[in-house]
Symmetry: C2
Subunit: 274 residues, 2 copies
């Protein structure tokens, strides 16, 4: 891959990169379409990265569909699929990690302490192997997108990062490989995330700018469903992810909710000026 990238760059070809953990859905395909449009060569990686899973998390059961992913990649015009295995990326004696000091101390980083170190590390590695000019990440993982942007800026990677809008199922559920874990019975509870985000937006746009009041309403909606457990609800700054008490500018409403044993996340930008 690294050799191919070097040759492509010397030929003046522009490389777009979409790093993934596979089990493709329309969200992944939307990232590929953006990459396809923005560059000459489209590279997708498929690697379920052990470094970003905690010991109690779902690394072993994370859904995989390798052959189908390759077929979908072909259909989207992917030129190169990079599909390393664990010993290739983390050989014996591996010991180097990329850490961010502030951004992980919010939202998902609080309940998933190794997650962003794992993400930043594997993305730095993949950037050095794939050598892209641009890379595309989904806004569903908003905090991850900020972490990658910050890492790219801080470590001086010469790569343009493009964020892509959340893709939703027809009923509004944000697309995620982990939706595969949900039973039909859990679907209404899973939809409470999107429902509560829309309610929060309506409140902000109607002139209610007190975060405490909005978060209480969001909590009420989610806990009305059985089998839901809130990890976090936050109204926070779009860049720093610090809590915002009074919504006097566009803010991120972000939330993580467990439905049964499935952890779901979603987010929306709420703009008081709308």
């Amino acid at each position: 891959m690294q050799l191919q990238a070097e040759v492509l760059r010397r030929d003046g070809r522009r490389i777009a990169f979409v790093p993934t953990m596979g089990f493709f859905h329309e969200g992944h395909l939307s990232l590929m379409r953006i990459g396809r449009r923005e560059a000459d060569v489209l590279v997708v990686s498929i690697f379920v990265n052990p470094a970003q899973f905690g010991p109690e998390e779902d690394f072993d059961t994370y859904p995989r569909s390798f052959e189908k992913d390759l077929e979908l990649s072909r259909r989207e015009g992917v030129d190169l699929a990079f599909t390393p295995d664990k010993p290739q990326l983390y050989p014996d004696g591996y010991q180097t990690y990329v850490n961010l000091e502030n951004l992980p101390n919010h939202l998902c980083g609080l309940s998933r302490p190794v997650f962003f170190t794992g993400v930043a590390t594997v993305v730095a590695k993949l950037f050095n192997i794939v050598r892209p000019h641009i890379a595309v990440f989904g806004e569903k993982d908003y905090q991850q997108l900020l972490v990658i942007r910050r890492m790219v800026q801080d470590l001086d990677f010469d790569i343009e990062i493009i964020g892509a809008p959340i893709v939703r199922e027809p009923d509004g559920l944000a697309m995620s490989s982990r939706n595969n874990y949900l039973t039909a019975q859990q679907r209404p509870a899973a939809l409470s995330l999107y429902k509560s985000l829309n309610r929060a937006r309506a409140l902000v746009e109607s002139g209610i700018h007190d975060s405490v009041r909005i978060l209480k309403e969001v909590e009420r909606i989610i806990l009305a469903y059985p089998d839901t457990e809130i990890d976090y609800l936050a109204l926070c700054d779009l860049k720093s992810l610090e809590d915002v008490k009074n919504i006097d500018r566009p803010v991120l409403m972000a939330l993580a909710v467990k439905v049964g044993s499935t952890r779901l996340i979603d987010n929306m930008v709420l703009d008081p000026k709308c």
Copy 2:
């Protein structure tokens, strides 16, 4: 710099890189000569990296000779001198660091807890800016060389790392910008490092392979001089830096000694087969 590197690489030119903190001596010049020989374009960076100095260390007083360094670079055939300032490499909000888990838990890492994080971080940044094919580091900072090699392997940098032998003054003192701090009166004490390394080598080559016995003799030599304080003395594995008790293979003898307030390091590979 990044733009120039991109153009050079597209033209098929091979880039050699020597990262430095300036205040050049023959040690630095020897690295430049190796880089000059191995590539088409020779890049030197001069940057006293604040991230690798602890709060009690000598960042403010570290010797600087910028104009003279540029003149020496020219004489050595350096094509590009990259001389960033602190806000360029560490702007407001900077928060990304490269950490190694094991190698820093030895030798200099024990008394300089932020040192190797600072080194790995700035070198990763410089690699992304200068985009070299090869980079040259001195073996005087043996642990640093191992850290860089491991980071390059772990983060998949496509860069060949070349280690260059220690350059010594005619009296045997390993060249270092910090030698500038020494008074004429302290010179004999400073020479105790090299003297004790040679004594250790003689012992090992004469068939004495018990590390405790050798380290005692080294300690005795150094402490015979006034104003010396031992930071560490170690006989350790060439790759892992773990202590070696019985010298049954080539090992690294490494030491750090304070002479007055000046901390000096030196090392030598000792081979029982010689």
